[in-house]
Symmetry: C2
Subunit: 355 residues, 2 copies
Amino acid sequence: MTRPTLADVAAEAGVSVSTASLAFSGAGPIAAATRDRVLAAAARLSYAGPNPLGQQLRSGRSGIVGVVVGDRLRRSFRDPVSTQMLDGLAHALSEQSLGLLLIPSEAGEVPPLVQNAAMDAAVVVLANGPDDGVVLALTRRGIPVVSIEGEIGDDPGRPGAATANIGIDDRGGTTRMVRELLALGHRRFGVVALPYGHDRRLGAPEADGPTRAGYAHTRRRLAGIADAGVVPEVVIETPASLVEHGRSAGHQILRRADPPTAVVALSDLLASGVVLAARELGLRVPEDVSVSGFDGIELPWLAPDVLTSVHQPLADKGRLAGEAAVELAAGRPVAEVVLPVDLQVGTTTGPPPDR
Amino acid sequence: MTRPTLADVAAEAGVSVSTASLAFSGAGPIAAATRDRVLAAAARLSYAGPNPLGQQLRSGRSGIVGVVVGDRLRRSFRDPVSTQMLDGLAHALSEQSLGLLLIPSEAGEVPPLVQNAAMDAAVVVLANGPDDGVVLALTRRGIPVVSIEGEIGDDPGRPGAATANIGIDDRGGTTRMVRELLALGHRRFGVVALPYGHDRRLGAPEADGPTRAGYAHTRRRLAGIADAGVVPEVVIETPASLVEHGRSAGHQILRRADPPTAVVALSDLLASGVVLAARELGLRVPEDVSVSGFDGIELPWLAPDVLTSVHQPLADKGRLAGEAAVELAAGRPVAEVVLPVDLQVGTTTGPPPDR
DNA sequence: CACGGCCGTCGAATCGATTCGATCGCGAGG
DNA sequence: CCTCGCGATCGAATCGATTCGACGGCCGTG
């Protein structure tokens, strides 16, 4: 009662295995009558087509791209920034009939699937610097790696597989945002930062942020603030880009004596939490405090307010990552991609209050 | 410059291929000295371990479970009901070192991956009745299928692989909810329904809803309302369980002349949209209209209101589906699971207004 | 009528690993 | 000193498909 194989079908149809193979793959010449005989035999045995495992071994390719999301799925999935990117990625892959193997990875650890699973290429979201364990394990296996927001870089000294980086102009984006706020007259800034790296700390203002940050996009966005010539009065790291963390960071910042007049959050979810915190404290946005975000996602619960934010092309980022994975898997090199961002002024920023 | 194989390593170490295999798998007796020699040789060739494709062909198992989500990822991912379930599923699978192959499927179509990808089992979310194309394709390939909320059933007349159903007590849940509202004194009901099936219609009240519904969970929840002896004055189908669809359905219902005093939404996201619509129309909840949901997810943007809702164990549902997939893949049968639900009264329901 | 080409079919090698049964060698016991 | 037994190693078959080269007819043309 084992499942039938191509050999069984060939025997049933009275042809050789190679001919039966041709009937299914269509590669190579075969008489229409023969093909029909083979297909009829297959139907009789309820043979549903060639076993993919055999094909994969023969071709050496699995048709699968691993996607390592650097966090619990529950958390990643709550962030539209992840999900919109994954949506673009999934579409790019499915257009090539490639499968998307979803690999959740708790901060810092290397899941067994990264070591064992068959993949033609991998996409790593938020690699923690060039020595990220996941990236190292993959390159050691000879699997090409596309890094989204990661700066993994080809180290010529190390033997390894091809890599590619897909990112956005985080740094320029925050610089433009801060310049906008400067032009409005703001001089005293608070910053609500994304996690600095896998070793997430919580809450405390920190001086070493920009240098310690293992997450390259956090580092770049912080650097963009410095580029505008601004030294924030307070910087709060959050453990994840979620509304509630933005809310508690907002409380911390806005309850200070003589709080800043502008709060720059490094993500929209964090920014929306800051807006909620301001409302709870009886502060008007933007009359009493300006709040800016980053990403450009929809925030229906802020309505009728619209967050001033730096918009990034999330779906494009995912799509390009998928295409890069395909290219690398085919052995072709991929140039680094830095997508442009777009400052969109909403209703949450304005001139600072008169003192 | 092709990647090294086990044979290369064996040659380098001066042992046979079979011995080299033992050095990696640990199955079978091998001298420690020999194993070290093999591992040293592997390191010299930078051989990162046995090629999974070879193992998979040999063992006949791919270590992959396909998960077919019946919608665009972008939409599924916006719904915490999907994502929390997926999180539970992913964890159950990763505990068994199984991979999760994510297969998005536009309504009604059968993606190529369903036909071609290697899987030991598959989980189908929201199968559209027992003749869902995806389910048929999978069983024809001999792949065991776990259906979440789908009622796919083993048809003894049809040759096919094993199946299992994982669901919740939708029907009893809505019945209890409606009884609660009846006890409060409500007599005139509006219903905001989930999509009835892949062929989503939009907005219009329909008489044939409960029978036409291809999505079993929609049908069951509507049936639960009937079980309580209630015939709603208006039923609105929505194209997806999203806040904005709940909002527009809420507008439709609450703008009627002499609107119902209670609106039963079949999901929390829809219900929260109804609450937003009521607020926009200047109606107080629950003084002017009561609103109930289903699922029990967090709705921070309704704060300080808490939605009255039927809570279901989402993560457990995913976890059980993962475990069922493992069992089926191992050839063991799985009994149907119907998880209990839990009515939680919040602040959005109360007695109807005096007329 | 004979020969060259071409279309269709077949056999066998190959992909990379696992595993069963056989063999080899060494040590211990009779 | 011979033999038995056991642990370590090896050879070969196997998983299921693809593909290359060879072969065998058939048809058309010279």
